[in-house]
Symmetry: C2
């Protein structure tokens, strides 16, 4: 295949960090993205050029656009942390050669360009060659949410408890964790905001689903925690409900923060939880997991994740697939109402 000279994509228009706005909502995409062309640079050693089939929009993308993500914004390249596509050119370097012509799931790398485009540039080591059974719709978001779910599930499995707590219980990531929990004999506890989310999550394998807007939520939470004794709490919300959940949990429980959906600022109201009950507050970031996890263990995780999509134990709930050239207009409302994943298609 001949290498194109330019790509067309949603180009990031801001540089660096801005921690003034933690919300993930968008009235309009214009302050953050610009549909435009960009010359494709010569590939460096270890890089690959991917013809994008589909790209995911994750919460981390939304926080990144606002400027509040761990990595600062890079102006002038396409947005989008992950997608699926076909490798059509490779730079020098051994590992890249093996990917030439393969369909891959990928995440973007420093020095490349993002997935919300017809072509993306990333590092060969950030690509996972795909089995034929994995659908593009699943492959577009095969890394960020699924690998995070698998890695956090491994944290829960290492504790002595057979239960764990999830906020944002109806998110795609929580659904993956609930299924993983059920399949490994664990009893996941999901916290949600709407009653209609309870049935589907119970069906997926949650042992308990609690609606935090219920009048008796605190009592029900105390009962469920007393019965199941969960020791890990995976929190994507971080508000005063999170503090109460952690305070209610047994001694030596770990509060693992991996997102910040709430714009509230919780209080650290009872340090006795840390001192006398041995509790801990920590974070999880996939980028750090990749940096610190031995490669063979990473590869095992990627294989296991792909196998779950290939045989149907996991599937991605798709809310909408939006053509790339309609994205600027349609994204704000699609993201606001989405109860599943929004994908972009060049």
């Amino acid at each position: 295949m001949s290498i194109p000279e330019a790509l067309f994509g949603l180009i990031v228009t801001n540089e660096g960090h801005d921690f003034s706005d933690f919300s993930m909502d968008f009235d309009s995409m214009e302050p953050y993205l610009r549909p435009a062309g960009m010359a494709i640079p010569e590939l460096q050693s270890g890089q690959v050029l991917i013809k994008v089939r589909m790209a995911a929009i994750n919460p981390s993308d939304r926080v990144y656009l606002k400027g509040a993500y761990g990595q600062p914004r890079v102006k002038g390249i396409a947005g989008g942390f992950e997608g699926v596509g076909d490798v059509i050119a490779v730079g020098s370097g051994l590992y890249g050669k093996a990917l030439d012509g393969r369909r891959v799931s990928f995440v973007t790398a420093p020095g490349g360009s993002g997935s919300w485009a017809d072509y993306a540039i990333t590092d060969a080591k950030f690509c996972i060659p795909l089995r034929d059974e994995v659908k593009d719709e699943d492959a577009a978001g095969l890394i960020v949410n699924p690998v995070t779910a698998a890695a956090m599930h491994a944290i829960a499995k290492k504790t002595k408890s057979s239960s764990f707590v999830l906020t944002a219980g109806a998110s795609q990531l929580s659904k993956f964790m609930i299924a993983l929990g059920r399949d490994s004999g664990m009893r996941p506890i999901a916290i949600v905001r709407r009653d209609e989310q309870i049935g589907p999550l119970m069906g997926l394998g949650a042992a308990h689903v609690l609606n935090l807007t219920d009048k008796d939520f605190d009592d029900r939470l105390a009962n469920v925690i007393s019965a199941e004794e969960p020791r890990t709490f995976f929190d994507a919300v971080v508000d005063d409900v999170s503090t109460r959940i952690h305070d209610t949990m047994p001694s030596r429980s770990r509060w693992v923060i991996y997102g910040k959906l709430s714009t509230d600022v919780p209080k650290l109201s009872d340090p006795g939880q840390m001192i006398f009950r041995g509790k801990q507050i920590e974070g999880f970031w996939l980028t750090e997991w990749i940096r610190s996890t031995p490669l063979p263990m990473q590869i095992n995780t990627y294989r296991a994740v792909q196998a779950r999509f290939a045989d149907g134990r996991w599937s991605t709930s798709i809310a909408e697939v939006i053509p790339l050239d309609e994205a600027m207009e349609r994204l704000p409302s699609a993201l606001a109402k989405a109860t599943g994943k929004v994908l972009l298609k060049p």
Copy 2:
């Protein structure tokens, strides 16, 4: 020595927890303690009866009296977590026999009676037989502060950094940690509230002492942290200054909470510190350290602690030694103005 039938001490008058008051100040001791006699019960297996020489008053005692400590108050027995005295009787059990007649430092145990009395009852395993060189004034507080300091210093030593941060930098415990840090080639950073504390702490071995009431405290903190790159933060205060210190520290820093001197409730304002910078909030409690640390390692720590007092590398700053029968009247003002340890003497 004949065994007395009764002890005289400061008897705890409240039962259980009360988390409404975290302050450590006392207008009067009457709501919490009553000077009274108490029959000495028959010693159980493993217990010892100690004729008390001196007893310490620690921050943990003060929090305990208020009801906000990890262990709930036990009404009807003498208060006081630690002291020094002579073992004058032992219950059945092998280890106790070896202590008979020995001068020991001790902490109290469930089922016993506290150190603020002429006689105390505790478990043989909570006694440390003393070398002659260790003075009663040091031996009265040989366990709670010094062992906590030694155990927390070991946490700091395990990180890759050669520095650590201490709030309440002029406390007895911080002084022990500063000397330990200096002696092991580390560079302690102490945070204080008064300029006159700076000189003595620099003399003890602090690499930096910062006054948090200085106008340019935030800038100086940032400079010192950037230069020393401390990875552990031992915090006995827990307020918004604590949050700022932790936020200023490098990635993967641990905030170790071991006390709560401030009555402010800090905010968990930036969860990105946990997610993207791998930071952690945890606690330290000596009771848990004793529960979870292998006995040989504990014994090594007790030996090392005693050796430091015996050869003068450590010494306790004594503010006042108060006779037990004047304690009710004199304690409130002695504790309020103390810049060193207040001891009780039967």
